[in-house]
């Protein structure tokens, strides 16, 4: 007779320890912060304000710089491919976040006319956007691998892509019952 430690809900291991959700959380906060800077950018229209509050300027710059560092660290950690579902969920969350990022474009690239004191700030903020986009692209690339066949498909055979499987996983249970 066999005894069953019943964890048969998937073939995916339980030992999935990954900071992916941390990365998404960090990105969420970065986007909120970036959007919050919209009102701050109005402040920068008056250089006098910066003269009066140089400490404020420094504070904003340093906090963005620190945040950028944290973001780069969160996004540079390689995903441990142990759980396909979490990978897909991460991609979905990132799709949503990058759409949000596109819809609120508050900071343009620094130009010749841009006052010198705004350039470092803008660079940091743009760097934030680039990191998020690069992370999104890397996750998308990892997911796309599972939509391609590993060997040429013989006549009449159809590949079940990772995307189809993910959809079946979400809806499957209701469908079967």
């Amino acid at each position: 007779m066999n005894s069953f430690p019943l964890n048969l809900h998937s073939t995916e291991p339980d030992s999935f320890v990954r900071t992916s959700n941390d990365a998404v959380k960090t990105i969420k906060r970065a986007i909120d912060m970036r959007n919050g800077l919209k009102s701050l950018s109005n402040l920068f229209k008056y250089p006098a304000m910066l003269v009066v509050f140089p400490a404020g300027y420094l504070f904003v710059y340093i906090s963005i710089w620190v945040y950028n560092r944290r973001l780069s660290k969160a996004c540079s950690e390689k995903i441990h491919l142990g759980n396909y579902r979490q990978l897909r969920e991460e991609l979905l969350a990132l799709d949503e976040l990058t759409n949000k990022l596109k819809s609120v474009r508050v900071v343009p690239a620094p130009q010749k006319k841009t006052p010198w004191y705004l350039v470092p700030l803008m660079r940091q903020i743009l760097k934030m956007g680039k990191t998020i986009k690069a992370y999104h692209a890397s996750i998308k690339k990892q997911v796309d691998v599972f939509d391609e066949p590993i060997s040429p498909m013989p006549n009449g055979w159809k590949l079940v892509t990772g995307t189809e499987m993910f959809e079946a996983r979400v809806k499957g249970y209701e469908y079967l019952i």
Partner: protein, 180 residues
Amino acid sequence: MFDYVYSYNFVGKEKGEDGSYVAHLFRFKTRQNRTIIFRAEVFDDPHPIVVVKFFDKAHRLSEKRYSLLTNTGGFGSIVWTCINIMFKDLVDGNPYRSFAFIGAPKPKEMEQKKMANTHRFRLYANLMKRKFTPLRYQHTMMETCSCYLILNRDYCEDKPAAMAEMLEALKKTYPNEAKW
């Protein structure tokens, strides 16, 4: 529905007619007091692939044993137990194994001579999509003969001809159904 696993016994091994595979036989009893035989035909040469089948013991002498219905319910737990055997005994035995099955037609479908996209095939295919992670397995299917193939990525990734050769092996175990 898919949350109960019956206790099962390993019954023994059986050599295939031409010696190309070894059938591993398992047996379990359902709540409805039906004995189910799970048969896994294990091919190791040229590639490790397992063809899985199950039937009610009462129908063992019938030619249509894979198609007949027991009409006693409890289907979910039976399939769940079979998946459990696949994970526990067959994957553990050799982690590079791929799997294949054909969704046999129901008696009504047999009358209509329907082999494409059978009800069993649709049901099992959905389960397999949920149970076998795409990280380790690539799923392929042929609807015209209701055949489903779960390829092991670790094994097949650097062997582009493996799939075609596995299909040849499948032809041996399904001489009538395999139309590729």
